[in-house]
Symmetry: D2
């Protein structure tokens, strides 16, 4: 079986790579700080000594990184993806700017390699459970090649066509915006009710059993009802980065988004006040702060 | 079996009353415009010739009216609920100000009658299906008396205690705010994606199958994806009224709610521009209007 | 010379009444807490022992009170303005709801008395200097009667007609909203510049010498540049009240005002966080708080 | 007398260059579309046949261009400022990103040239009148060299030090934001009053004679009171560009600016709805649009 490279072993990447190992793939992993690779080594993955070793020539490499800068680096470094991959396939799963995806796809084509956008929805617990929702955009042949690999940790695939390699990245940004908006709504609603004598958790329970009985509200409702934001599943300062990408793309495409502006400022304020490391559900404490609670 | 009065036969009240008839209750109905009562007459309900006839002395009367003014009138009219009900029970299901509930509960107590707040979540199709979510606040004995009646059209009950008779009304306002917030989020997200080449319905399908697989998004997502807001299940100008109640209660309780302000202005603008009669999911066209679509 | 009653000796009312005494009028003053009347007694004003004594039958009474409730009380109390004034003239200078002005004007007419709306622009230092801007609405004859009295402390008069007795109150609310908006703009602009190495006071100096060389910016710019909000010339919780009146009137008249909503929430948050007693220029610290300064 | 190059003859640049000619300077002008140079040729200025001819080696070149892209081009073109200026001085008066100023200043230093940031406040009529407010940042020696030239059209100078060459650009962005904020406030206040029966122009007159008696409100108040936005002194789509720069710098420096977001969206919406060519005072019609007027 062909070797699969996996780069980026954060709270999402690590369980994803573990699923690949468990599914029987020959996996070589790399992470900037090597200690994060130990659990994978213990499971039988090979730990690369350098970035380049984790890029199998003519093979498949998967990246799951924190931001555009990290992804650009991994692609363009001297022994990075573009230099090493040959005619292989890069499955790029990080949340990045659509423009970054487009530019990198071109750079891959020029280098003879293939780039598939495959950002995911799901928090670390969904990654552990192998139930991530994977959004795909790029060449059909690349999707066909990627699905059998990605199914090791995927709960479902959604295909956004071949026309725009960044389409899945746009969808990912839209979804993250909607999550942030849902958290803001909960933060305001629960504080509104609390100030009128209603128990936050009791209100949350009703809503998440009825109108809002879905993962977005179920996952974030209890932390917001309890103001319990640590440890972080997804850090607030990464959420701030994502909303920044939303604002940037909205501006570039002429779409005024007052609610995106609102949640962006919530994140920006919480980050400025020293809360960048808590879970981004911390959006939900903004309304309480404003109400002087 | 004791007679039950039912006052208010709008798009919610009519199917609710029909369920009561079907469940075998002896129902007397009244509506300001009498023609709305015809379907119920055909099913065997008695149609009152006057408001007072629909208030059974010492019995149970259910009200489902458009706003505070209508409810106040029905209670305080010369032959209205307060004048006629005696020691009976008024199950008040309209969306009204918490203060209105408190004031009316006191007035009922002074008149020797009982007032139970029982606002519901669910659109007309949920009323037809007998699956409304009923929120209750008031005396335990009154809830025990009401449940066997209300179960004719209820899919579930949530109890918000005895301390504040208006607690269920607060919860109802919180929930309606969250629905409006969800619609604003969809309106912005779908327009954001559309301007970048993504099909609105395809995006909506993915989101409502995964992160947002719940009634709030399922009900409102398709109309917003298609910009299809007529006929109205719940009119925009009624949604505007509800958000006005939210703003009023938020202000009275010292809770700044920027997202409530935002959706209130959306509704206010759409109403001012002549769209008060479309469904309140029309919130979702605001982002498209702003983007010049 | 006919006696003039003056009711309400706060930081605005006291210097206004003093100007009347200095101009030679026979002035009788009343204030809820009597100690505030001492300086006026020392200047020769008569201090009323009761509210009623400060309302000269068939004469002129001026009121300068904190809010609608205080004005309503002074008018409707057993020995208040309506009971005592006869055919006299009430010059009502407080910032109140337009509806309050309309309702009180009707109540005066029914009692045979006259009501003139005369709210003012200007802070306590302008009152001390006798330079207040007075906005008038009501009957022409009443304005002609009032001007010779009011000129003791007025720097200018603006007439808003006879049609709507509350027109001047609407103008007053519009002006106070614009002041709050200017403060929010300064707060954001100075913080924006400060984070990029610009001295706040230096920026304020340039702006208030050039584009914004006018009282609104000159008065509030330095406190905001220095974050110096005590002692208060006009308390933040009174500004909150005024913006509440703006929101209420905007809603009642179908005018969405996102900037009014924004400054209202600033004031609401600062008040909730315990700053209700500082000057309302404290709006200008909101941006710094949000930026984590 | 040394020759002065002047590049960019829009509605601001043309009158500025004319003042230089009138003051007796030997001026060579260049504009992308040559016809705009005719009035200057008629006054005695030399019209360059190419960009490079308008950059006097070892001399002074002034640029007044529409945006960052145009300035970058003029600097970096094959025969542009950097290639031709030698040890001369570039007085850069356009409204551009602070980062652009910093980057260009470095590029000038590397090329042996000098870069002075000198953005201005004032509309075309102020340029015609020679009363522009000039903000300076950069080396003291460069300011000393520039002032005698710039005084041909300057009404005042403000110095923002030597430390950050972009300080004046930051100040310019802060000022433009404050202008936009003032326009939004007027738009909302006048619509608020109008809906309650007050004449917009009468309200504007009072405010601009009293609290807001300063150029910002005097210039923009009458157009907004009358909804008279053509012809444009400064186009709405350029204002949109400026507010985009404000948002970008605010984000880069961690300063949440809700009011900047609000006016940015106003401009974005008006631009998307086809009004990019009207004066940016058109911000003032946003509130009327929202109110359905």
């Amino acid at each position: 079986m062909a070797q699969i490279g996996f780069i980026g072993l954060g709270s999402m990447g690590r369980p994803m790579a573990e699923h690949l190992v468990r599914a029987g793939h020959d996996v070589v992993v790399w992470n900037r700080s090597r200690d994060k690779a130990q659990p994978l080594a213990a499971m039988g993955a090979r730990v690369a000594d350098s970035l380049g070793e984790a890029v199998p020539p003519e093979g498949v490499v998967i990246t799951m990184l924190a931001d555009d800068t990290a992804l650009e680096h991994v692609c363009r470094a001297q022994w990075g993806v573009l230099a090493r991959l040959g005619g292989g396939l890069h499955v790029s799963m990080s949340t990045v700017r659509p423009e970054t995806a487009r530019t990198l796809a071109e750079a891959h084509a020029e280098a003879g390699a293939r780039y598939l956008a495959a950002p995911v929805f799901g928090r670390p617990d969904m990654a552990e459970a192998g139930k991530l929702i994977v959004c795909l955009s790029g060449a059909t042949a690349d999707k066909d090649a990627a699905r059998p690999v990605l199914q090791a940790f995927a709960g479902g695939f959604y295909d956004y066509g071949e026309t725009d390699v960044a389409a899945a990245n746009v969808v990912k940004l839209a979804g993250n915006f909607m999550l942030a908006a849902a958290m803001e709504a909960m933060g305001e609603a629960y504080t509104f009710a609390e100030h009128q004598g209603i128990d936050r958790e009791q209100l949350n329970r009703m809503l998440t059993e009825t109108l809002f009985a879905c993962p977005a509200y179920a996952n974030y409702g209890t932390p917001i009802a309890k103001h319990n934001y640590e440890p972080a599943g997804f850090k607030l300062n990464l959420g701030l980065k994502d909303l920044r990408l939303v604002r940037h793309a909205a501006d570039a495409n002429g779409v005024p988004m007052p609610l995106a502006d609102l949640v962006f400022r919530r994140l920006e304020t919480l980050n400025a006040q020293g809360h960048g490391h808590i879970d981004w559900a911390g959006i939900g404490r903004g309304a309480s702060d404003d109400a002087g609670d």
